[in-house]
Symmetry: C2
Subunit: 298 residues, 2 copies
């Protein structure tokens, strides 16, 4: 159990600096978050993109990262991905570049970063009044995962949580109800995924579902419904049915619960920080911290 | 725009008392919420169910409502529905009775309460720091609505909001993204529903979508994304893609945002209060207030 994003930042400060490779570096807002990350001592950066614009922003913002010039978005992502592949960079970050171009390069068979079967998104939420970080997958990448894709999403996420120090995270497969209902597909998948975990087909975590959000994260709610489960009330990771439901959770954490979130793409050899323009600066910084911490040797 | 649930309670107190018909009245928790509703002056009740057990609870709780004996759940719902149909009762409330039995009676062709094409659920959320109530449909009844069902859900919900005093509510059809993406069905439906509203096919509201939760409810978030819309940032009602995503929103309002919610079934001649055992007492009382207020002549 990790309480908040501060935990990562504190741990990172005492470790060797990791290099974030920002591709499409002519992105003022991304540069601001990297400046902040460097200032609090959690990351260094290499910038790949239009050198002229990038340099102008760097001077204005008084930052001094290495800049590699690139004439096209395609060459920027190729340079960036290869930097991470060679070990000169440790984490890839999306700047002013289309997500599709970035992901195509990540998935390149010759020089890409693909490691697992599927790329997936994980969101971490820090919410006032909740005693621990809650992770949600996949609210950002796979639109409507089928059962096999849910297995890959869980594998990616559990591997990441293991890297963050969760030896055996509690995984709740959530749905609108906590009983199996053959009219609600997510409850069927939840039953199957639980059994696969029990049989050792999905390892290094404890999976239970279907669970409602209430009884997944709140022990009192689980007691009222008399749910016997090692996960109920103690979930670290919520597996959602689709991108809409996961996205709504992450956004309501910010806009309804006054929380902060972080998001990272998993399944590649290095985590990818992929924040959107509308994300708050705090979110961007948290995402960097989460990605960096996951790559540290513990 | 209505700020909070208190608004309804205050208005109801000055009006003629409405009768809640509790079917399956041998339900201690439901009786407690009705006692509270009577105490604060927002409702009176008729109890239909096992007279012996109901009477015992009423004596214990010191409440004094009319009790109608019924030997079976089927007869209890029939009596209850007919009471509402005849005007002796104004609102139906589910007690210790299966939802399926209750709904079957509501939909009975000879003596039921069906009014619109579809029954649907609406949830109202009061969240600290949000300046107004937010309504969500459908996170409780229709599992995976297709386009026609979404139209009916909107019609039911808008009719209800009109009854609550919203002359022309802002309806956001929400999705994970605010652009039309043919891989995400909810964005396609959102575009169609917006156009139908613009052409006058869905009336008494302003519909826009796809919108993200952030830019639906938060004006600043809408500005950042440069969304031109009468609804963005000012949504009263959020139309969700399916029961999971709506259910997660309602539950996160309670368990993540420390809010309170209310839920009512719509599409019938009278609103139906259908709370679950795990619902907080506040939720039950809010649901009663919402249902009662919607039936008042304004």
């Amino acid at each position: 159990m990790i309480k908040n994003f501060e935990f990562f930042k504190e741990k990172i400060i005492d470790s060797e600096k990791k290099k974030i490779v920002l591709v499409g570096s002519e992105d003022r807002e991304a540069l601001i978050s990297l400046k902040k990350a460097e200032k609090i001592g959690i990351a260094d950066a290499i910038l790949v993109g239009n050198k002229e614009i990038t340099k102008k922003y760097c001077e204005e913002l008084q930052i001094n990262f290495e800049i590699i010039d690139s004439k096209t978005p395609e060459s920027a992502v190729e340079i960036g991905v290869k930097l991470v592949n060679s070990g000169k960079g440790n984490i890839l970050m999306k700047g002013l570049i289309k997500t599709s171009i970035l992901l195509k390069a990540v998935l390149n068979k010759d020089w890409g970063l693909r490691k697992n079967k599927l790329l997936s998104h994980i969101c971490a939420m820090e919410i006032p009044g909740i005693d621990r970080l809650l992770f949600v997958a996949d609210g950002g990448m796979v639109i409507k995962p089928n059962l096999s894709e849910k297995i890959e999403i869980i594998k990616n996420s559990v591997e990441f949580l293991n890297d963050l120090g969760y030896a055996n995270p509690n995984v709740a497969v959530i749905s609108a109800v906590e009983v199996v209902n053959d009219a609600i597909e997510s409850t069927i998948d939840a039953a199957i995924l639980s059994k696969m975990n029990q049989r050792g087909q999905i390892k290094n975590c404890t999976i239970d579902g279907p669970l409602g959000i209430d009884n997944a994260i709140n022990e009192k709610a689980a007691e009222i419904k008399k749910i016997k489960s090692k996960v109920a009330g103690k979930a670290d990771l919520l597996i959602v049915p689709d991108i809409n439901s996961g996205n709504f959770l992450g956004k309501s954490a910010i806009y309804l619960s006054k929380g902060t979130i972080a998001g990272v793409i998993l399944g590649s050899r290095a985590p990818i920080v992929l924040t959107s323009r509308a994300d708050e600066e705090k979110s961007k910084l948290n995402s960097i911290a989460l990605a960096v911490y996951s790559t540290l040797k513990k």
